[in-house]
């Protein structure tokens, strides 16, 4: 085990789990010393108001740092055996891990491991190497694209209404080998930097309670670095939940796509792209659940942000690349507390006023027939 590696890990572990207020009376707290545990050091806090000394709840009664617990759970769902997991953890962190501890963690954290119900099926039908497709996309920065093949197969087969999302699976299957990297490497306009605003009339942004926020709340405490948080959370969700099928998915749109939406489908899109240029982006998380494809983005302070443009462009691009109607997409952004979602179709397509709906037309026809008789 290299010394530097250990120090780095220690730093990330120590600087997390910061408390802002007293756990008992929500009063003001001050730092009061450090507790040396077997494998980590934990900050002790003191509340002047209620005269109590305490540490963060996440480290309470735990010998091992949370990051190691997360890694262990992920390795288990990557189909490694207990012996293999303890060897891998020992090599990476230099800490011994017994099979008993691993099985206890799996039992304790099973709320965060919905994938367990799929695990048995996956073991029977897939080799470990074939479960996921991973590739490092060296675009303007490095993106770790990952696609959970086994899970997406299961999700598509499990529910009849998910059957229509097979083109999405085919698209994800081809990303590693067919992605036109040269386009992404050139400086193209990014979906996340698009400033033109969509018309947001009739768009409902619905705050919801989602397990994605619970996952974020659990995982984020293990990592302090913001960029690393993103990666760790995405990877944890891909391997351990039962709905995330891919992370860091590259998408692009060109002028033909925009024209198709504008003139063929009559969508309101407030920008155009020049010939030969592309609008590119990388989708954080793609989930298939409840009969829709969810395009998700993790934003550290979700309440203050409204990445509607970015997410709508992702949905438009993915809809065009897969051939799945925009109707089947939902977009959402979240952090450890909040989760907001909206329909991208409502952003670009408004109900025309004065248009008679089908039921009304039927009633009118019936009345006409009656009058004639």
């Amino acid at each position: 085990m290299e010394q530097t590696e250990l120090i780095e890990d220690k730093e990330t572990i120590e600087s997390n789990k910061k408390l802002e207020k007293c756990l008992y009376c929500s009063g003001k707290i001050v730092k009061r010393g450090i507790r040396k545990k077997k494998f980590e050091e934990v900050q002790i806090y003191y509340c002047k108001n209620c005269d109590k000394r305490f540490t963060s709840q996440i480290t309470k009664n735990k010998t091992y740092p949370l990051r190691i617990i997360l890694d262990t759970l992920t390795l288990y769902n990557k189909l490694y055996s207990f012996e293999e997991i303890s060897d891998l953890i020992k090599n990476k962190y230099g800490m011994p891990l017994s099979s008993r501890i691993i099985s206890r963690w799996i039992e304790e954290y099973k709320n965060y491991l919905p994938f367990l119900r799929m695990r048995e099926f996956v073991i029977k039908n897939y080799k470990r190497k074939e479960i996921t497709e991973e590739s490092k996309l060296i675009h303007q920065q490095i993106y770790n694209f990952k696609f959970h093949r086994a899970k997406s197969d299961l999700i598509l087969e499990e529910e009849f209404r998910h059957f229509k999302f097979k083109p999405l699976k085919n698209f994800l299957e081809l990303v590693s080998s067919e992605c036109p990297h040269q386009i992404f490497r050139e400086k193209q306009e990014r979906a996340s930097e698009k400033k033109e605003k969509f018309n947001l009339n009739e768009v409902k942004i619905v705050p919801k309670k989602s397990s994605a926020s619970q996952f974020a709340n659990f995982v984020i405490q293990a990592v302090s670095n913001n960029k690393e948080r993103h990666e760790v959370l995405e990877e944890f969700m891909l391997y351990n939940d039962s709905v995330t099928v891919a992370i860091e998915v590259p998408v692009l749109m060109d002028v033909d796509d925009i024209n198709h939406y504008k003139f063929e489908l009559g969508f309101e899109i407030p920008f155009t792209i020049n010939d030969g240029e592309y609008l590119t982006g990388h989708i954080d998380l793609i989930q298939i659940r409840n009969g829709s494809i969810h395009i998700m983005d993790f934003k550290p302070s979700a309440k203050k942000e409204k990445p509607i443009e970015q997410l709508t462009i992702y949905a438009l691009a993915l809809s065009r690349l897969t051939g799945i109607r925009l109707y089947h997409f939902k977009c959402a952004w979240f952090d450890s507390k909040d989760y907001f979602e909206f329909f991208p179709l409502h952003v670009v397509y408004k109900k025309k006023k004065g248009k008679i709906n089908k039921n009304q037309m039927k009633i009118n026809l019936k009345e006409e027939v009656k009058n004639e008789n």
Partner: protein, 143 residues
């Protein structure tokens, strides 16, 4: 763009890859082929190396189109492309041995060799991905 100037038939296939020319393996093997044929120290081997190196991107391009009709034909062509890359690697290896004492030539050939080995893997991955999507077993994905 005005609607009048806009041609409906311009819509591309719904895929990030418009034509085979967008495939990275195709582009790289073309570049490598040019690099090889422009080497000034090739003598009697030049013709054969040129023939093989140019055949590789051609096969990839052909298989891109063929996969829509029959995956079996596309697979055969990709297999042939992989075999040709292996042949080419052997040929470059032989050349490399010939120029062992000439450091500059040896390094150039080494670089090309590494790139071709990488492309061989890429073609293999492309074949696997196409098999999952367009092949018979691609319909369920499970083993």
């Amino acid at each position: 763009m005005e609607y009048n100037r806009y041609n409906r038939n311009n819509f591309r296939v719904r895929s990030p890859v418009k034509t085979f020319r967008d495939l990275e393996v195709y582009q790289t093997t073309i570049k490598l082929s040019n690099l090889l044929t422009n080497l000034d120290f090739l003598n009697e081997e030049k013709e054969e190396i040129k023939k093989i190196s140019e055949r590789i991107p051609t096969l990839i391009a052909e298989s891109y189109g063929d996969k829509f009709d029959s995956f079996e034909i596309a697979e055969k062509k990709l297999d042939e492309a992989i075999t040709l890359v292996t042949n080419l690697i052997t040929k470059i290896d032989l050349l490399r041995d010939k120029f062992l004492e000439n450091k500059e030539r040896k390094e150039t050939l080494d670089k090309i060799l590494t790139k071709y080995s990488y492309q061989k893997l890429k073609v293999l991955n492309l074949k696997k991905a196409w098999k999952r999507v367009y092949g018979k077993e691609g319909n369920n994905g499970a083993n």
